[in-house]
């Protein structure tokens, strides 16, 4: 009997149940950032927009526009401002319209940060 057959029997079914049940490995995926509006100021938003390598962040007045479609989940904004940006944990991001991927993040922070 070939060895791979025995190994397969020992390991059992490895296939994910994904759409029916959540997949355990999803927790380890790099995911786009989630923002805390209370910690975001105009200065910080400008700094994050300058850091972003894929033009996913743009500031317009008191709103930070986040394009989840352009985001590469590199984590640079999270490293630059750990108090204001965290990982969202969302990986199911397919959209039927690119406009659904652009999110408005209000800037509610006060003073410099």
């Amino acid at each position: 009997m070939p060895l791979w057959f025995l190994r397969g029997l020992r390991r059992g079914v490895v296939t994910t149940r994904y759409p029916g049940q959540p997949d355990a490995s999803a927790a380890q995926l790099p995911t786009p950032p989630a923002f805390r509006p209370a910690a975001l100021t105009r200065d910080l938003a400008d700094r994050l927009a300058a850091i972003c390598p894929s033009w996913a962040l743009t500031r317009n007045g008191d709103v930070l526009f986040f394009d989840a479609g352009a985001c590469t989940a590199c984590g640079r904004c999270r490293e630059a401002a750990p108090g204001a940006v965290t990982a969202s944990g969302e990986f199911e991001l397919a959209a039927t319209d690119p406009a659904h991927l652009v999110k408005r993040i209000p800037l509610l922070g006060e003073g410099g940060s």
């Binding site: 994910t16 989630a34 509006p37 033009w55 986040f66 989840a68 479609g69 965290t86 991001l93 999110k103």
Partner: protein
């Protein structure tokens, strides 16, 4: 009087069409200048852990046999004719899925060499973000494309109240 019933019948018909189409779907991948990271993840869909054949999706090398075009990369301008020919060779009804941040207009700005987004050249139905999108994200995108899963990202805000976890 018969109007609500007609509406009901039409809805039932639409649901059954989605069900029929969702049962078996052939995918042609189209690399429009990607770095091959997306291709690696697409390749993993056929591996035992993800096994997309269990959901009725299959890869085909011929556009003429394909129902769905999975385009990766920022759509370089040198590829315009090939992309159009591939799309035209597919029989209808057909779907186009833009895959990865490049295809969605993230990584490259439009310039003399690239369009910067697949949407400029092809009529895209579903957009899958990620750099590269994980096989799970690709599976969800494919299932959204055939109406077997609802789109989730429309209701996400990417705003987190309270402190960081």
């Amino acid at each position: 009087m018969s109007l609500p019933r007609t509406e009901e019948t039409a809805q039932a018909l639409r649901r059954s069409v989605a069900r029929q189409f969702g049962r078996s779907l052939h995918i042609r991948t189209l690399d429009t200048g990607s770095c091959a990271a997306c291709e690696q993840e697409i390749r993993l869909l056929a591996a035992p852990h993800y096994d997309l054949h269990r959901l009725g999706f299959f890869f085909t090398p011929a556009p003429r046999h394909a129902d769905l075009l999975m385009a990766t990369g920022p759509m370089i301008r040198a590829f315009d004719i090939a992309a159009r020919k591939t799309y035209e060779a597919m029989p209808g009804p057909k779907l186009v899925v833009a895959t990865g941040a490049c295809a969605l207009g993230g990584v490259y700005q439009p310039d003399a060499f690239t369009h910067g987004s697949v949407g400029d050249t092809l009529p895209v139905d579903v957009w899958i973000p990620g750099c590269p999108p994980s096989p799970l994200a690709l599976l969800q995108g494919l299932l959204v494309a055939v109406d077997r899963l609802a789109e989730k990202v429309r209701d996400l805000t990417f705003i987190q109240e309270g402190g960081p976890r």
